[in-house]
Amino acid sequence: MPNGTTFLTRSGWLNLAILAIFLLVVLPLVVDPFRLNLVGKYLTYAFVALGLVMCWGYGGILSLGQGCFFGLGGYCMAMYLKLEASSIENTKIQSTPGIPDFMDWNQITALPAFWVPFKSFPLTIIAILILPTILAFVIGAAMFKRRVGGVYFAIITQAISSILTILIVGQQGYTGGVNGITDLRTLNGWDIRSDHAHTILYFVCVILLIACLLLAQYVTCSKLGRILVAMREKEDRVRFSGYSVANFKIFIFCLAAVFAAIGGAMFTLQVGFMSPTFVGIVPSIEMVIYAAVGGRFSLFGAIYGTLLVNFAKTSFSESFPELWLFGLGALFIGVVMLFPNGLAGIYRSTLDPYVKRLLGSTPRPKSADPSVSQPAE
């Protein structure tokens, strides 16, 4: 890769090893299965945060509608699990056996057509990956081809996630309404509610997360990643150099959407339900803060940031529920005003030089570091 940087520097490999050991060895040994399941739930948000680092940090596109893709992935998985849970034997007390219970309560007598593909597991997996990509492509193509960006894009994506929430809540018979799709039991006959299953799903989640991290790392250090950074800094100059700016933006937005959808699907599997509360504006913006706390230019930071914010949220909500919103609000303001580069920025300026010296590697050339210059926005 003549124009790129190395895939991972020595300290990058060290970070990866630390993350992998922390998530795969330390946490499963230290915490009990209930807490581990909770960490697994947090990690599903980290998929979204990874996507946001890609499209917001590197691409300069802030999407406030990632909850929409998270929800799509989650709902696809939930629909499959719900159909499996609503087999004829399980639902024989209903007036129409074989359809999900909430449909029966809403006087729907046949399975709606868009539910039918979710009877098959492979089709569900394909839907989880393809549906968000199509949606992101349509939104991206419509917006970026017309050179709409910045706050306009943020507002439109926010509106789209709001539309999806209203739609899900309103169409109770087809989507389970405000309660969401609940009471999910098995995946291909395997009980997903036991502690054992939760532990296995946790490991699956971590491995998928690390795979996504490596994919994202591959993208950022390729020529494509360099173009993204260039575009964020001086879009016109990249355009005049002959690159199709819109296509790069569409690509990175689709990638972020797919990450979010994988996170959503893993969320449904680990938590056992999906509801519109994870789709709307509030969760979408909250997911942005995960990436911001971790550092909007740092893939590793996104994961740690997500864990930290969610850990703080859970412990605050348990002991001082009224203080949490104050804390979260202050976090938004503090990160923006005082630490625009988040945890990763603090790490880079304090610990990183020592680590690098210890490893004996030369510091990376300045131009390769995406956080050196302030974002153009």
């Binding site: 507002i155 309103g170 919103l325 005003m337 926005e377």
Partner: protein
């Protein structure tokens, strides 16, 4: 617009439904006016705008309880006092927020968006701590409660007419301020070319601060109007923020006329559709239509040429 002003039932339904849309339109316009001024002038996305509105609503609530307890004789005019107080409270709050927060984040619109979102969370929790999580409603004076029987079958509530009159008054006031006053001239100069406006001696920072204050103050008035059609809770503002932003963007960010036109289109579409479909589907179709149109015409309905 009403398809023939007949005295049949259908005609009455159209009139009343149209009027219901107009009340929604009034609240939307009042909210969007403040947002449009702030966004058009400074490029600042104020996600806490709904909370400024709710501040106005709570001030109105406090004024009404104060009048009930201490000045029952003047209760019939409390609303007008409340409007002024709501404007002042939200406006001062806006000035403080601009000074402490927004001022440091100019030229970073996405960061402003996140910071003001954080502010909105803090304000929501503050309202919840101070006023409780339950929604509060104001008691209207007797003369505002009735409705005007235009014909035998058409009834128009008086408080709706008051909100409309208020909206028209505020809109004219803002129009006057922006297009006839010296201050408005300064604002428009800053919108069109900030650097040159500064070079000819306009104190752009001061213009920014007062614009933000006035925008927030108008949100406060929107809140006062809001108490007449709904009850006030800590998170009521959040329900309106997406619509208000879409109105501003759809109208074309720098155009007051566009804001009014798009608020009218969106509120009328929604209330007309609500008659035929369920409320949620009406909202979905309206929002989808707006988003679709914005994808085709991203600059909005009306645009102003601005040098960036």
């Amino acid at each position: 617009m009403l398809g023939g002003y007949t005295f049949t039932d259908l005609g009455s339904i159209f009139v009343m439904q149209g009027f219901a849309g107009l009340i929604l339109f009034s609240v939307f316009v009042l909210m969007a006016l403040g947002l449009a001024i702030i966004f058009g002038q400074m490029g600042v996305i104020n996600m806490a705008h709904g909370e400024f509105m709710i501040l106005g609503a709570y001030v109105t609530y406090l004024t009404s309880t104060f009048f009930q307890a201490h000045l029952p004789g003047l209760f019939s005019i409390y609303f007008f006092v409340a409007i002024v107080l709501a404007f002042i409270a939200s406006g001062i709050m806006g000035l403080i927020v601009e000074y402490v927060l927004i001022r440091h984040l100019y030229n970073r619109p996405l960061d402003t968006l996140l910071a003001t979102w954080g502010l909105s969370l803090i304000l929501q929790q503050a309202y919840r701590t101070i006023f409780g999580a339950r929604e509060v409603g104001v008691e209207l004076p007797q003369w505002m409660l009735g409705s005007w029987h235009a014909t035998e079958s058409i009834e128009i509530p008086i408080n709706g007419m008051i909100i409309m009159a208020l909206t028209i008054l505020i809109t004219i006031g803002v129009g006057f301020l922006m297009y006839k006053s010296r201050w408005g001239k300064n604002v428009r100069a800053v919108v069109q070319n900030r650097a040159i406006a500064g070079a000819v001696g306009i104190d752009t920072e001061k213009v920014d601060r007062y614009t933000f204050g006035i925008g927030c103050g108008i949100a406060g008035i929107a809140g006062a109007a809001f108490t007449m059609i709904g009850s006030t809770g800590p998170t009521s503002g959040q329900l309106y923020i997406v619509n208000a932003f879409l109105i501003v963007v759809f109208g074309g960010a720098q155009s007051l006329l566009g804001t009014i036109a798009s608020a009218f289109t969106i509120s009328q579409t929604q209330s007309t559709l609500e008659f035929f479909l369920s409320g949620s589907m009406a909202a979905v179709i309206t929002l989808l239509a707006v988003v679709g149109l914005l994808m085709l015409r991203p600059q909005g309905l009306f645009t102003l040429k601005v040098r960036r």
